[in-house]
Symmetry: C2
Subunit: 410 residues, 2 copies
């Protein structure tokens, strides 16, 4: 059998195609099998793999068949949100590392199912949260670990991305995401900003998320978009959307830090993750690409441009990445997060984003839904580690680590 | 008796000196009397008035004596926060218009006292919230009234101002503000951002603030500042400060809009009120001075610089102000807010910021204190109008109006 890491790939539509294409370019990876409920997607996936010069993967419509193969070490899943947990549990029980795309939970219970499956099997489970490997996010992590911000106090982030056109367009094809906006009202996509923030705050490794409140604005954006696209009297323009346009969630951490995250996906706006890092020594703001560090910034109480700081405090992973050639979508983040997963399999170690991180981040969606429904009541965020967070420490040998900066591994 | 507007002035220290100096330059204003508990402050105040060529005002240590004069039509008060409500009630009962500086309440009850005193006497009461007259804020108000943002959905603001040096320095002189940070934990200064946002959302005039949650970060900034200034073992560095460094308050409005405001006054940072206005047609962001309006901005999903919009949508009040010569502190806002108060007295009409606005805005401080103490529980914001907000409409004859844009009055 090949020395390569041998993967199965599940969910081969939109996002899946891009991720699979990138994966197929990796020399040390074999795509043994692909799986999609829709046969044409599975065929398309197999073609993506062979076009990159790799052997044709086996094709399945049912993931249980894929998981029954002995030659697969790990699975990457790019399915609809609602499939993530069941798939992940099945993978762990089948002894396959599981890396799945981002998305939130519908209940706290299903997050616990992930944790229990991991604790029963010992098989790693990783949310493939690409923004954890963003260049800015990692440079900031590096600066934080070097103490430039002092003690961290308050963080902000957002998923500020106008999806209204896509959401409204996909009603006819019954795309799952659109239906979440029709039925639910919650922080449905917290991880792009919350993942990196949790890494910076050592969440589940000496700190934890304690409580949250969540507040939803009214829902008008999708109706307005649909009215522009299809007319005021069209079905999508007349539909009642439960999902508020802007969801504001405020989280309190065990060590007293606060985090504000905004979901903002149905109103016209430029893209931003609105990251803000604030400590006793300074503040970074993604919007405007600026920073102020007391005693380091050039003029007291005036912003510096972040660009030279980014150069100076580049994370060693990104220095290495730039030297070897940045590749993959979303500015390289997709490549890095896949490599983090694949090299964990190769080296037979825990994934840098583990099941506790995954469960914690996903739970925010379900908890925000509860809080909104209860009139912004504070709700407790479970400790999915059952106290292990107090003593958990970074893996000193993982170069993709997000809780420490390992210069010596590059 | 002079045709001028005849004022008494109470509280003649820091902020008071500046406001009094500006007032003393107005030809149509007589400063009949000044009052401060500290005699040297009263003397200093009288000197400020005479230096500007005006008749020497009477000097008082007790405001009751000032209020007993028949020749005073209105009072401006720049006292400590805790004195605002008692002074205002005394002024209304004495038949004097009262305009007082910004600050929050310690209880909801004292906000009701303001409302009752007004309803019993019919004498106007105005918080002198200068930021309501900021150039950007008024241009945005103008744009909102013209429908450029579509239906408003979400607003953000902050008081992002590093006061740590001043707060720590003033421990020795027992400055009142420092003591609030020692004893309390709340959104202690909401109005600079909340006032303009309430104007934009028609609060108390067709809309109202419904509920809020408030969450406090840990308190580290003042200890860190004091350690730098006086050493780690100094009293201010060792003091326990109750006031969290960053307070995040999320408000829900009757018509479904959400508002997030941040108090951020004890960590090193450049000044910003972080205003963000978001509607179904676009978004404005103070940080970065930028805007995106669908169909108007040059490139889809890319920010435009706000500067040309500011020129194009200048509020008529500011057009007039620029033509006649901008004067007064804080970029002219201090002048405009004083004129709004003075001309209301002159014209014998309601103040544009009235007792209901004042009570509503001040209550946020007390309510945020409750919410924080209760673990971010949602708390109800009283309807200080008792239902009048449903039918209240802008005054068509007030050029300083903040709920309509009266081009015809300039």
């Amino acid at each position: 059998m090949s020395e390569n890491v041998r993967l199965g790939f599940i969910g081969c539509n939109y996002r899946g195609s891009g991720m699979l294409s990138l994966l197929s370019e990796m020399e040390d990876v074999d795509i043994v099998a692909v799986c999609d409920r829709i046969e044409s997607n599975a065929n398309k996936a197999a073609a993506i793999v062979t076009e990159k010069g790799k052997a044709e993967p086996a094709k399945y419509l049912d993931h249980h068949e894929l998981l029954s193969r002995d030659d697969i070490q790990g699975v990457i899943a790019c399915t609809a949100w609602l499939d993530h947990v069941n798939l992940a549990v099945d993978c762990m029980r089948a002894g396959k590392y599981i890396g799945f795309e981002v998305g939130g939970a519908c209940s706290v219970e299903e997050c616990w199912r992930l944790v229990y499956a991991y604790e029963e099997t010992g098989v790693p489970c990783m949310m493939l949260e690409n923004c954890c490997y963003g260049r800015n996010e990692l440079a900031l992590l590096n600066m934080i670990k070097q103490g430039l911000f002092g003690e961290l106090i308050h963080m902000q982030g957002a998923y500020g991305h106008d999806l209204s056109h896509s959401l409204v367009s996909r009603i006819q094809e019954r795309h799952y995401r659109t239906f979440h906006y029709h039925h639910r009202n919650c922080e449905n996509y917290p991880t792009h900003e919350l993942g990196p923030i949790c890494n910076m705050l050592n969440i589940n490794r000496g700190n934890r998320l304690l409580t949250l409140t969540s507040t939803a604005s009214k829902a008008r954006g999708l109706n307005a978009r649909a009215a522009k696209m299809f007319g005021e009297d069209s079905m999508p323009a007349q539909r009642h959307w439960n999902q508020g346009d802007v969801i504001t969630t405020v989280i309190k951490c065990a060590h007293g830090e606060t985090i504000t995250i905004n979901l903002d996906t149905t109103l016209p706006r430029p893209y931003s993750r609105e990251l803000c890092v604030q400590g006793t020594e300074g503040i970074y703001m993604e919007d405007g690409n600026r920073i102020y560090i007391e005693g380091i910034s050039q003029t007291p109480h005036e912003w510096d441009c972040f660009a030279p700081y980014l150069e100076k405090y580049e994370h060693p992973l990104w220095k290495w990445f730039k030297n070897t050639g940045v590749k993959g979508g979303h500015g390289g983040m997709d490549y890095l997060v896949q490599r983090a997963f694949i090299e964990s399999i190769r080296d037979n170690r825990e994934t840098p984003i583990d099941v506790y991180d995954t469960a914690t981040w996903m739970s925010i969606t379900a908890l925000s839904e509860d809080s909104i429904a209860l009139g912004s009541m504070p709700v407790a965020i479970p400790d999915f580690t059952n106290g292990l967070w107090i003593d958990r420490r970074p893996d000193p040998k993982c170069r993709y680590s997000l809780d420490a900066v390992h210069n010596d591994l590059f």
